[in-house]
Amino acid sequence: MDMNRKPNKLSLQLDVSDFIPAREDEKQSLVIMRDSVGFWRNGFSRLAKNKIAMVSLFVIMLTLIFSFIMPIFYPYSYEQQIRGSENLAPMQYSQAELNRKEEGEKIFPHILGTDALGRDTTVRLMMGSRISLSVGIIASFLVLLIGSTYGAVSGFVGGKLDIVMMQFVDIIYAIPDILIIIILMVTLKYPLQKLAATVPFFAWINVIGVGLICIFIVFSLLYWVGMARIVRSQILSLKEQEFVTAARALGAKNSRIIGKHLLTNAIGTLIVTTTLQIPSAIFTESFLSFIGIGVSAPMPSLGSMASSAIGGLTSYPYRLFAPAVMISIIILSFNLFGDGLRDAFDPKLKN
């Protein structure tokens, strides 16, 4: 047959070359180029593109290093009172320290000066930030634990139990939290001190500090209700979906359905709500320490440092500067990072 013959467009004759198996490179062109993207990768890639969130994450990392790692290597400790070095200005040395320097000794400068008791402000700032960050993170974790369990059970079981449980949430929600927090902070200290002194099992309370334990208890008593509401509404909509019916048909127990299927699907909301809880806990802690009922001395807190700076505002105004800037930076970076997380993992929550 003449191969160069012009093909007749109307011919019904089949062209054999159309039925030759495809070559490898031809096959490749049919493969869908985009990989399937999972929930986490999708979220993280969106988060990585958010410049503000990444910068705040970087700042959070820096403050974590500043407050948890640097004090270990720092030549001064937060409760160490250096005689003769009281009320030093930033980078100033006391007479005794100057003399020792003269003799060739190396003396680490007081970068932010010292306070009225001769304690180095820089290391106190680190420890204060450590307190703020621990309060924020641990309190939010407790809130997450209590709130999500309560909300999940309430939403999953439904019916009368749900009504009763949510009624209870409504009541706690209506409690003016700050009033009760202040009263609890003042009153809880005594039974806790007694507990730590009498029962050996609770001796660890003194290690962490009664004030801190009080804060954890108070926050977990009052702040879980918001989380419980959010989790409940998520569970309510999730439990009607097919995969839950499928899991049940396969014989999964309730606890497995809640833990493995429902909470896993609500995880974006959980992360976002917990992250946004951190700055508000830090806020409240600094406020409590500022009015003098938070963390107990000599442990510094950013709030109590700012509070003690007020007394000497005329002579040592710079003392206010460090804790004030630090607390604002911590809260701001957590706020912004939480916003970024929300946009990345839970865009629905935005409004």
């Binding site: 209506a174 009760i180 202040i182 007020i310 505002l313 105004p317 004030a324 409004n351």
Partner: protein, 305 residues
Amino acid sequence: MARYLLKKILVSLVTLWLVASATFLLMHMVPGGPFLAEKSPSEATLKALNEKYGLDQPLSIQYKNYFAKLLKGDMGPSIKQRGREVDDIIKTGFKVSARVGGLSILLAVILGVPLGSFAALNRGKWPDSLILLISTTGIAVPSFVVSTVLMMIFSVKLDLLPTYGLTTWKHYIMPVMSLAFYPTAYISRLTRSSMLEVLGQDYIRTAKAKGLPMYKVLFKHALRNAILPVVTYLGPLLAYTLTGSFVVERIFTVPGLGNFFISSILNRDYTMIMGTTIFLATLIIIMNLVVDIVYKLVDPRISYN
């Protein structure tokens, strides 16, 4: 609506009773009564004092007595401030706090709503970025930082404003500004985001298309809907103003309720603690209720079931 209201009021009453009872029990749990702080009174005086205020009786009887009196509207005398009734102290303190708090809420709304709307109208341009930057930072700064910084600038450095008391209009400037700082930032953010959402709606385009002048579109259509989130925020804002006032009133030694509340707790002035707690709790709960109702009136789409 009536059913909803009834339920809400019932929950509020239960909450109030819970708060009052918890406060009562908690403050009696603390060792050391109100008289121990004073220069160690003798055994006999202590006994007489305890007897006078009924503190020698068992807790359950004290509880019953207090609430029986409270239901008649009697909060009893202050234990620490001799010769003054608790409701009298609360009245004078509240007048001061309400004036400072009210002014700061007013300032926050007057500044926050226009700033937010202005930012939304200039979306993406530099005024928007500037307002957003300021308000985002504003939310992260605690009120005690704001007040101390203000104090440092205006009293210590410039020596323009007095640092304590509340006698002339000059005394009001710093407390009101410190209290208004956070809510202004918050309200402007809130207004900006809800304004942006409203401006994208079809009815705004319709209003523009039918030739309404811009100010009419803004005030009659956009702002009226964009303001809803601000209205709901007013309830929590009151609670915030109170907590803020605990700090701000203490820093500027304003003789207000927040200051009294903290010092009564530190002094173990039992009747004052109860009085201020119940008063403040009632105030916050009623405000939240009012906001609920107002919200319903402003936005008839919301149903309560």
